[in-house]
């Protein structure tokens, strides 16, 4: 069944079209990747789903409910967890405090001025950290962790809201190569077991082709191809875009002109 549906999303910045009639659907437990060159509109699409941007037209439906244009904090309360291209964590806190904070927010207790924070949801937070394999680092300051581990903790933070949908913007960006596969495997495993839909953008093609169930290819704000990894890999249009054959004749003429 459809968890997330984007219907004819359009967004312009000044005269530039960042998204044109972008439409897709995502089922529970499915991993959907958005790929495309820089400036293709991946982040725009992503931010329209996450609430950071309001589309000029079109709708975003989560489990059948219209969430178009809701601010991120509302989108979160509807059951959407998110990770960022540059990991966003609470740097002054320890690993487990980061997760506890997300649990406190999820429980709606951020205005509580009485309870001692350190004891709230500690067991739940430990369980979430265990889920991503980070429980050993629970009491370390998050700023001391290797970047790959920070991104893994960020996944646990996103899971704290018991999301139906995970939005992951370039989940492996900035990670050392060997850490990347581990994070993607972990994400895919959790998504499938718990029936969480995952929408992610990614530059690392290994990560995309090993873990995505389906792939969308965006170019200049438009979806030019969509399908299983095999279908996308064999699409000549996709090949052309990624190898940049568009300027070929012009460039060759330029070369002849200069010998």
């Amino acid at each position: 069944m459809t968890l997330l549906a984007a219907e004819a999303l359009n967004k312009r910045f000044g005269g530039v079209v960042a998204a044109r009639d972008v439409a897709f659907a995502l089922s529970a437990g499915e991993m959907l990747a958005i790929i495309g060159p820089n400036g293709a509109g991946k982040s725009t699409t992503f931010n329209m789903v996450g609430g950071q941007l309001r589309p000029d037209s079109g709708r975003v439906l989560l489990g059948g409910e219209d969430i178009t244009g809701l601010p991120p904090r509302e989108v979160c309360r509807m059951g959407v967890g998110r990770t960022f291209q540059v990991a966003q964590t609470f740097l002054s806190m320890s690993v487990i405090e980061n997760v506890q904070m997300a649990l406190i927010a999820h429980a709606g207790r951020t205005r509580d001025m009485l309870a001692p924070t350190s004891r709230l949801f500690r067991q739940d937070a430990l369980a979430l950290l265990a889920r991503v394999g980070m429980e050993a680092a629970a009491d370390r300051p998050i700023g001391e962790l290797a970047y790959g581990d920070v991104k893994t903790v960020e996944l646990a933070i996103a899971l704290a809201a018991a999301p139906r949908l995970l939005l992951m913007d370039e989940p492996t960006a900035g990670m050392a190569p060997r850490e990347r596969a581990r994070l993607m495997q972990l994400t895919a495993g959790i998504a499938r077991e718990e029936g969480i839909g995952v929408l992610f953008t990614e530059h690392d093609m290994d990560a995309v082709f090993a873990h995505a169930d389906r792939i969308l290819v965006l170019v200049r704000g438009e979806i030019i191809a969509a399908g299983t990894p095999e279908q996308v890999r064999d699409d000549p249009e996709v090949q052309r875009v990624y190898l940049g054959t568009t300027g070929v004749r012009a460039a060759l003429r330029a070369r002849r002109a200069h010998g």
Partner: protein, 617 residues
């Protein structure tokens, strides 16, 4: 109303707009290139006036010609420009990369040093300047007399705007300034030495401030209060115009000049409130001012300057705390009246500073006008007792209410902004509160304030009142400290660390910050109320900029990274002030130098030193 009167009114608005613009253009240029809001810009203005009242009469001795008058004005401006260069080389260069709070404090340190330097050089008496030869007469405009010098000033603003335009568009230096205002890094990558560019910009900025001051001498005497009175107006102009935009500053200056000229006819007492309303409206609609541009998001992942994961008290700290509280409470038993008075004040300031660090250290909300809520609490309590005839108890309840109410009102606007805009807005609100208390003489007693704010009979002995203050202040501090350790405090730290992350886990950041601002206002208001009864009087210095800076200096000295640092800082600051102030005529100079030294070499304060000591053992 008579149209010729309206015209003259409008002209006088233009004249003050002109002066304001000349000064504000310098501040906005310096900010555009260096991203530092220079508090000392008002000091440059004051120095321009003082140098001019020294140089111009001397030149006029030679010959009473208009040319020599204006030569003197330009010489004064150039001298001030060179002082700007000195400030860039000696101070600004070292603080381009430190957090905004420290930048503001360091430049305020310069303000304090200049104040005492001016007193030393020119003495405490205001110095009237000579009138400008050739412009001493009045001009008849539709039957109304208008001073010729004011007419001349009206021309100066557009002339400076025109000359700045030429400089910015027709010289390499100007083109580089404009380029650097947009993208400093790229200018460097094209081979431009930014250090030289910054020094040059400071010369230009200080020159303009000095020019503004020197041009004022036929209208107002040079006085040691010129710096702070102008800087708020100039901040308001640059914020409304958009920081970094010279044309925006011009528009804003004209707008404010007219608003004040006509506002004074309609609401003679609250022209400043009109200006504040204009600023609030502009900032709500255009958060970056009329012609300003959004600051590029920092986006960097750096440890925040503030309270980190708060630890509970360790054994040593518990013992220290116990000894400290016990000896404090025992003080009236063996200390003299003076010691009890000092201890009372320390407790009051500890609460005020703690509430400020609740915002700054815990919430990352850099308030530069915290004295407003302290002072409004004091005024609420003081006025209720003296004018309202109420006893102390309800007045002491009203103090935190007043502080909280105004903090809620001002905070509603404040939390919509961030970074330097936020700091400047808090400052502007504080200055407005100050101005109202200062100007509304019938109600507030103006400059002199109100005396006779005494506690109820049962608390009238120094000792009893001390215990009352101790109970209130320690109770409030412990309550606020508890909030820091509770989810609400953690949520504020979370939003300070990463707003996008806080938003993404479902936190309404703005509402939480607003609550925090209000809560801090309540605590500061309580401190203010307690202070009023301990002094027996209220006066506008309780909500002035120097008081806000004292609070900031306390938390800086204590260390904004630690929970209890503010308390230690307040005690240390007040003790130092108490010991050294009677010993020196140059207390402000010493204080300014100490603030700069703190920022440059000791930014973590006493709390940071204690933490380091603890970490080593």
């Amino acid at each position: 109303m008579d149209p010729s009167f309206l015209l003259v009114q409008s002209l006088s608005g233009l004249a003050s707009a002109s002066s304001l613009f000349v000064i504000a253009s310098g501040l906005t240029l310096v900010f555009g290139v260096t991203r530092i809001v220079n508090f000392a810009h008002g000091s440059f203005y004051m120095l321009g006036a003082y140098v001019a009242v020294t140089v111009v009469p001397w030149l006029l001795e030679i010959d009473r010609s208009p040319w020599l008058f204006f030569a003197g004005v330009l010489i004064s401006a150039a001298v001030v420009g060179l002082l700007g260069v000195a400030m860039e080389l000696l101070l600004l260069r070292r603080i381009y990369k430190v957090p905004e709070l420290f930048q503001l404090l360091a430049t305020f340190g310069v303000v304090l040093m200049v104040q005492d330097a001016v007193l030393k050089i020119w003495g405490p008496v205001d110095i009237p300047g000579p009138r400008a030869p050739g412009l001493r007469h009045g001009v008849e405009i539709f039957g109304q007399r208008f001073p010729a010098y004011e007419l001349f000033l009206i021309v100066v603003g557009p002339a400076v705007l025109g000359l700045l335009w030429l400089l910015m568009h027709r010289t390499r230096f100007g083109v580089l300034i404009r380029a650097a205002t947009r993208d400093r890094e790229m200018v460097g990558a094209l081979g431009v030495n930014q250090a030289l560019l910054f020094t040059g910009t400071l010369f230009l900025g200080a020159f303009l401030a000095g020019l503004g001051g020197a041009l004022q001498i036929p209208r107002v005497s040079a006085s040691a209060q010129m710096d702070l009175s102008i800087i708020t107006e100039v901040f308001v102009v640059t914020v409304i115009g958009g920081m970094g935009s010279v044309t925006g500053a011009f528009l804003a200056a004209v707008l404010i000049g007219q608003l004040q000229a006509f506002g004074v006819l309609v609401f003679p007492k609250i022209t400043l409130v009109l200006v504040f309303l204009l600023m609030a409206v502009v900032l709500v609609i255009k958060p970056w001012g009329l012609l300003g541009r959004p600051e590029p998001a920092a986006g960097r992942a750096a440890l925040p300057e503030g309270i980190l994961s708060p630890r509970g008290f360790g054994g040593a700290e518990r013992a220290l705390l116990g000894v400290a509280v016990a000896s404090l409470l025992a003080l009236p038993l063996f200390g003299d009246a003076y010691a009890v008075k000092v201890a009372t004040e320390v407790l009051v300031f500890a609460l005020a500073a703690f509430s400020l660090n609740f915002l700054v250290g815990n919430g990352g909300i850099v308030s530069f006008g915290h004295a407003a809520y302290f002072g409004l609490g004091a005024y609420a309590a003081g006025l209720l007792v003296t004018k309202g005839g109420l006893p102390m108890e309800p007045a002491l309840l009203a103090a935190p209410l007043a502080g909280g109410l105004f903090a809620a009102l001002f905070g509603f606007f404040v939390v919509r902004l961030s970074g330097i805009y936020l700091a400047m807005l808090t400052l502007a609100f504080a200055q407005i509160a100050y101005a109202v208390c200062f100007q509304w003489v019938e109600f507030t007693g103006g400059d002199n304030g109100v005396v006779g704010v005494w506690p109820s009979a049962w608390a009238s002995s120094r000792h009893v009142y001390f215990y009352l203050v101790a109970a209130c202040a320690l109770g409030a501090i412990l309550a606020l400290r508890h909030v820091i350790y509770a989810p609400f405090g953690a949520t504020l730290r979370a939003a300070r660390d990463s707003e996008p992350r806080a938003d993404a886990i479902g936190i309404d950041v703005r509402t939480h910050r607003w609550l925090a601002f209000t809560l801090a206002g309540v605590a500061a208001g309580l401190a203010g109320g307690l202070y009023a009864f301990s002094k027996g009087s209220i006066d506008p210095t309780m909500l002035g900029i120097p008081m806000s800076v004292d609070f900031l200096a306390m938390i800086l000295l204590g260390g904004i990274q630690t929970v209890m640092g503010a308390v230690v800082g307040a005690a240390a600051f007040h003790a130092i002030k108490d010991v050294f102030m009677p010993l020196t005529d140059y207390w402000r100079f010493l204080l300014g130098a100490s603030i700069i030294a703190l920022v440059l070499i000791f930014p973590r304060g006493l709390g940071g030193a204690w933490g380091a000591l603890r970490a080593r053992t």
